[in-house]
């Protein structure tokens, strides 16, 4: 049985990571489908699926709730999918931990909060992990497949729990939240280091901004503990031996470099990549396929359909393709030498988009068979 098969049957969490634009979401969905077909209850948490893929999964409306996908066949497993709505996830988090209604509405009115979910670096990563926490600990699903957002810097994703904690760090908070017990005398104003920092920031960014900022930290201070405990839990989940990492990339040296860099960073979690998936590989076009007899044979094959010059133009195009194909194969062999061929899986570049469960299954079979 291939490593992929074992993983699909035993893992509790599969994290799919890799550079953008390599078909990570589609591959995550295909992995989820194969696991469901193996009889497991699976949820695929995706970030931003292509519309046709979403439609093929029966997800036309963006929703932050799991939706069950109709597999039609008589399977014992279940496939669910949901798309991450980061604003909604953040709002839910705030709503859950806000001590009272006032804090909730003050948070939502704050200028900085409104910007936060889209502007704060790493917020999308954090929200994905936060949702993962809920799904993972919820107890219903045997397997969560997490499709991660493409990160510019592979480190971002792994450092996310820490980064979000840092934003609400005790030390940072102390500077911004005026101490409620301190006397408001001249003495404390002058010697309060927090107010010095605020004064400087006010000079550069204007008083309003700084007031908003203080207000923001003050209002959302209740999130501090929640983020810390959840962050620690997520860190724990990512280190769990039943958590597996799949690095998805394409046969492009710069993207492979990115995947290998991420692989290196997994060591900081005492983890490794269970599989490398090379997506959209140019199929094998062999130079040896092209000799004089092939052209003659092509002419014969085309029979009555043989337009003048057609065999030659077919040959010329095929010859061009062999260049890309050979280059792809060189890159794949090279990667195999580095990470071992048993960890390497390739999916060819299809002639059509993945737009139904059938194509998705075909894609998944390249991994599990």
């Amino acid at each position: 049985m291939s490593r992929f098969n074992t993983m699909v049957k035993t893992a509790r969490l599969i994290v799919c990571a890799g550079p953008g634009g390599v078909g990570k979401t589609t591959t995550s969905a295909a992995i989820g489908l194969r696991a469901a077909q193996a009889g497991r209850k699976v949820i695929v948490l995706t970030i931003d699926p292509a519309k046709r893929l979403a439609n093929s999964l029966g997800l036309d409306a963006l929703t932050n709730e799991p939706q069950r996908i109709d597999l039609t066949e008589d399977e014992s497993g279940e496939l669910w999918a949901m798309m991450l709505d980061q604003q909604q996830t953040l709002d839910d988090l705030v709503a859950r931990y806000a001590p009272d209604k006032g804090a909730l509405s003050r948070s939502k009115e704050n200028n900085i909060y409104r910007l936060l979910s889209s502007a704060l670096a790493g917020m999308q990563e954090y929200m994905a992990l936060d949702k993962l926490h809920d799904l993972y600990t919820g107890g219903y699903f045997d397997l969560v497949v997490l499709d991660t957002p493409p990160t510019k810097n592979a480190l971002d994703f792994l450092q996310t729990p820490g980064r979000a904690r840092q934003f609400f760090d005790d030390r940072v908070m102390k500077w911004f939240i005026p101490s409620k017990t301190a006397k408001k005398g001249l003495f404390t104003r002058v010697f309060d280091p927090g107010s010095v920092v605020l004064g400087l920031l006010g000079k550069v960014f204007g008083e309003t901004f700084v007031t908003d900022l203080v207000d923001f930290f003050d209002t959302l201070s209740f999130l501090q503990d929640a983020l810390r405990t959840r962050g620690e839990m997520i860190d724990f989940i990512l280190r769990d031996p039943q958590t597996r990492f799949v690095l998805i990339t394409s046969a492009d040296s710069r993207r492979i470099k990115e995947a290998l860099f991420f692989h290196e960073k997994l060591k900081s979690l005492d983890q490794h990549a269970e599989a490398f998936v090379l997506n959209r590989v140019i199929p094998r076009f062999d130079q040896e396929d092209l000799d004089l007899s092939t052209i003659e044979a092509l002419g014969a094959l085309l029979e009555d359909d043989n337009v003048e010059g057609l065999p030659e133009s077919l040959r010329a195009n095929y010859a061009r393709l062999t260049k890309l194909s050979e280059h792809n194969r060189g890159i794949i062999d090279n990667l195999a030498r580095q990470v071992g061929s048993d960890r390497l899986f390739t999916i060819p570049m299809f002639g059509e988009d993945v737009h139904d469960l059938g194509t998705l299954e075909m894609l998944g079979r390249h991994l599990t068979e």
Partner: protein, 326 residues
């Protein structure tokens, strides 16, 4: 080609991750430089793709000469922050106090909008640099999902500061520059595929909504050309159908027992599918975008620098009169 960029000093390039944004940015900048312009490519990434693509030495925050009148710089936001604060704060001691303090440091590291603003501030000062006049500054922006956020940071900051203070004033100037369709251009890089095409159309709409301006140019990367002549296509399709290749060319190619001529047919069948799929997405782009759309061909070369050179010369060729007529 590239008429839409000719007079623009500031050119922002964006695109979905994985569409070849950096490769196309390099090709675009090289094409402009080969017209005799002084061009500076600005990256704001952690890793400089330009140094790999253009074979330039890696540098941080300093301008390097790549040849052909082309220069590149990989900006660091930490460095830009120090420069911005130095411009607006009364004394160096105060700047140091802010940048060397662990708390303010971690605040600026994670606070929204700060790094974007200081990078834009730096780019503005590069435009104003009298000793080093740049005809074009080409900025390799973050992926399109974040590009609108990035470009609207000056407007947002100004709003948050209610127009008060030196930074707010600068933010207004940067915003005016970005919004100016005579001085600045926004270019989208796209692939003829579903996600990138939809994202480009969305980007164009979001730019209109947020910044009141649209895209100037869309470059469609890696467009496959026709493997068989249009006249021969029907015959080719008929033959493929008869030989049962049409439905599953990848299967035929994966089967090593299949004879060579059949494999050649299958390879071409797959090419034809790629070509047709590309045309559908190009049509979708043309229907939904008002800006200039330029196709970049699939380049059958291996070295990245060779690909960039070929794309740059493609961008500098005169448009085909036939395509102008249509």
């Amino acid at each position: 080609m590239l008429e839409s960029l000719d007079q623009k000093r500031l050119i922002f390039v964006t695109g979905k991750g994985g569409v070849g944004k950096s490769t196309c940015t390099a090709a675009l900048a090289l094409a402009l430089a080969k017209r005799g312009r002084r061009v500076l490519v600005v990256e704001t990434d952690a890793y400089s793709a330009m140094s790999v693509i253009l074979g330039a030495p890696e540098s941080e925050h300093t301008i390097i000469d790549v040849g052909h009148g082309l220069h590149a710089i990989n900006l660091r936001s930490a460095q830009s922050l120090v420069e911005t604060l130095t411009r607006y704060l009364p004394s160096e001691r105060v700047v140091k106090a802010i940048t060397q303090n662990r708390v303010t440091h971690s605040f600026f590291d994670s606070a929204p909008s700060v790094s974007e603003f200081v990078l834009l501030d730096k780019i503005m000062s590069l435009l104003d640099d009298k000793d080093n006049h740049w005809d074009h500054i080409v900025v390799d922006l973050p992926a399109s999902g974040h590009a609108v956020t990035f470009l609207s940071v000056p407007k947002t900051l100004n709003g948050m500061m209610k127009g008060v203070g030196p930074i707010a004033k600068r933010a207004q100037d940067v915003d005016a520059m970005i919004a100016s369709t005579t001085r600045a251009a926004i270019v989208a890089i796209c692939l003829p595929e579903e996600m990138p095409v939809n994202e480009t159309i969305e980007l164009s709409a979001n730019l209109k909504k947020t910044l009141g301006r649209g895209l100037d140019l869309t470059l469609v990367n890696m467009v496959h050309d026709r493997p068989v002549d249009e006249d021969a296509e029907d015959d080719f399709e008929r033959a493929s159908m008869r030989l049962r290749i049409r439905t599953n060319p990848t299967g035929v190619l994966a089967d090593s027992s299949v004879a060579a001529p059949l494999r050649v047919l299958a390879g071409n069948q797959l090419s034809l599918k790629w070509f047709k799929r590309d045309q559908i997405y190009l049509g979708l782009l043309r229907k939904n975008l008002k800006c200039e759309i330029v196709e970049l061909p699939m380049v059958y070369k291996i070295k990245e620098r060779d690909i960039v050179d070929e794309l740059a010369s493609h961008l500098n060729t005169d448009p085909d009169p036939a395509s102008l007529a249509s």
